[in-house]
């Protein structure tokens, strides 16, 4: 069972920025992603306590390298200034590349 290398983009951000992220993905015709709520600490302080709007969310996207650059660039440009966001990219192996 051969594994094909592909990119995994992981974005941790404040929950209210989730919508913006999903929209950016949609704009780049990416419809596969996984999300879950997390707590965290960072430059914008402790998150995950108090109001629901102060939670964080993680968005994980398995995607081809081609689109990665543009997506990362757009997230950086539109969200880094005003929202609590951290993103990172890693290499993963998948069975069915046609899915992504």
């Amino acid at each position: 069972m051969k594994l094909y290398t592909i990119k995994l983009l992981t974005i941790t951000c404040e929950i209210l920025a989730q919508k913006n992220i999903i929209e950016i993905l949609k704009k780049h015709e990416i419809t596969g992603y996984t999300t879950y709520e997390v707590d965290g600490n960072g430059a914008r302080g402790l998150r995950g306590h108090g109001l629901k709007t102060e939670k964080n969310v993680k968005v994980e996207v398995i995607m081809r390298e081609e689109k990665l650059q543009d997506v990362v660039e757009e997230i950086s440009r539109t969200l880094f200034a005003n929202f609590a966001v951290v993103l990172y990219v890693s290499d993963v192996g998948v069975v069915r590349t046609e899915k992504f």
Partner: protein
Amino acid sequence: MDILQLIQSNLLTPIILFFLFGIIAARIKSDLKIPEAISEFLPIYLLAAIGLHGGIEMRNTGFENMLIPMLVAIALSLLFTLNHYQILRRLGKFNIFDSYALASTYGAVGAVTFSVGLSFLKNQGVTSEGYLAAILAILEPVAFIMAIFLTNMAVSKQIRQKKQSFTKDDTSDIEIGIQETKTKLSQVLHESVTGKAIVILLGSIVIGYIIGEEGFGSIKIVFDEMFTGAIVIFMIEMGIIAGQRLDDIKKVGVFLTAFAVIMPTFNGVIGVLVATAMGLSLGGSVMFGLLLASASFIAAPAVLRHAIPQANPSLYITSALGITFPYNIIVLLPIMFAISSIVHNG
């Protein structure tokens, strides 16, 4: 009519005591907290209960007399929002984004504050007009929409000015910018109006109106008799959150702290007087004042974070939740009650 005595009798209710308790629990860094699912559910429940009650009352008393108070409330809310903006921008020297965000936070209404007000009146054995729940629902988005509209106007103006100074061929880019801004406005509008608070409140008002006192019988225990107990539980969590924010008050600054106390007092007292002049009852005038005095801290971040992302959320959340909310329910509510009592009996 002794205001201090009223404040004291208001302080010693379970609602206020459990709120203070929550603050203390947070300050001593206790791990006490109400599970998220419960504290997310409670506002929905409270709004459903308020709405049902309001709808039933409106059926009993008709809503002919509702139109004028509602229009006056909307007008005051808009006026107050503009006033807040001027004060924050001119006197407070806040940037345009923070000024609009804060202005609308204080122009909008607080559903939790409203719940506490209803319980306060119940405790005093005083009733209020049912249609005030409907005004609560309609006021929710008004201030936001105006602030967002004005912010967008300001941003467009800035962009257009840049365009004239450059007159490069990036015109299309700017057009797209303005286009985007407009789309955003309609999006934010949709979001505000379909926000859970408004939806559950309006829905429950309609349902309350349809089922009336009779249809309410089978659910009265859950949606009426348990109301104060449910607020008490919610107040623990509100206290904890407010307590966690106390440290941030320093960051908020003296100006905003003063604003967060003086502005609601001003708005609230005017509200009570105007409502009395329009013929609302003693209790109704208090609730009308409370609507105008209250600041939004549950809906505000959800709406403003998308609509004015440049604004610093910790400013508007901290001042609304950490300063204005406690002040409103502990101090201002009994003051407005005293004023309303005087002007209604005088």
